[in-house]
Symmetry: none
Subunit: 121 residues, 4 copies
DNA sequence: GTGGTCTAGACCACG
DNA sequence: GTGGTCTAGACCACG
């Protein structure tokens, strides 16, 4: 588990957990079949509440990125490279819709947005 | 006042108000000297609380986009076209930093992000 | 009448009027017997409400800096140089008490305050 | 929490709260990491509304004097002694500019102001 | 009529 | 339990 939690971020902790682990799974950094640490252990290591970890795990399961084997634990699901790319796109496209409507509301064109993006990327 | 409030958005109402009005000011749609509607009237029209409107107005004043004349009302501040462009950039750059770190965390390059942006813009 | 009104100041307009005129009287810039402009005229010149001017004039009269002759207008009161100095001190001492308690609350000594005052005077 | 609220002061309650707590932080009386009382508890103790406390806390956070950890509470930020002195100066310099222009308008020199200050300090 | 402030109480997300 | 937000209504100073 290579996770960085920020307590002062606007993002809820469970959301930070969810995003970072899903990214690791979809980039292949966590291989299919890999066993996630037990909730209690993860909570201790990350110094967050068990409830928080559970919420993140549930969201991962809901999206089919992990699956639970009762009594054994949680495991990274099997995804083809194509599926992984597709899912990665979905993860950012949903956010992009929101981001873009914000940029647009301030009157920026796609080209202007691209120029600014390059500056800060 | 051309404002659309979404109750389903996770953005607080005062934040929506602030963003929409600041965008209108910085795009020149509300000219300098223009008198914003009295907060009580705005609250009634938008069907929100006075305090909610006040909070948005306060943020606008804090950024120097409007100013208050006691007993008279709130007015759009005078900004040069250069300042307006600069401010518009500031408004989205701060958000862009956050957006980009999200895209990056899922392993996308600037070019890939640009391609996806074009699709949905 | 040499008055500068700020609409964006925190100070109420009538207070600005009162302070500036009392300062001019107590510094001898407006001599005793000098006739203040009629309220309506002052209001027009200064582009403020009649009520505002009236409030300032009332405060001046309350402190004995001007007096009203019914049907004739308002006139600067007669004050000896000693009285004028005394009154000037009173005007700032009252405010100083408030200012000092603020400086003190942030832990500054009189010497430190003096050093800072010199920098910005 | 050692706060004294004055209902006779013309300073708003939230401003009094802000000033007193910021002074305590910047003088080192509240150490970094110290947990401020929950806003609801503070509101009850100080017999003011939650929103009033919130407004003061927001200003403290805006200046970086405290930070919020969701679900945990508000904590005093970490500031070096140098930063604390710098911030303390900033807090009174802004006010000093206003105070001085008032003293000056009544014709007092810096030396005269200093003499009067010593009398009442 | 205008803004400034305040209250008491409420519902919600997060942990 | 913690903060975040919101409401409806109130009183006040200023003009």
């Amino acid at each position: 588990m290579n996770i960085a939690i920020s307590n002062t971020s606007d993002k809820p902790i469970y959301q930070q957990l969810f995003e970072q682990i899903s990214a690791q799974i979809l980039k292949g950094e966590l291989e299919s079949g890999y066993s996630l640490p037990p909730i209690r252990q993860a909570a201790t290591e990350l110094r967050v509440s068990i409830i928080t970890v559970k919420k993140a795990w549930e969201e991962l399961e809901r999206l089919g990125l992990i699956y639970t084997v009762t009594g054994k634990g949680c495991f990274v699901a099997e995804l083809s490279p194509d599926e992984m790319l597709q899912r990665r796109k979905e993860m950012i496209l949903k956010q992009m819709m929101i981001d873009i409507s914000y940029y647009k509301s301030f009157g920026f064109t796609i080209e202007e947005v691209y120029e600014l993006l390059k500056e800060v990327y």
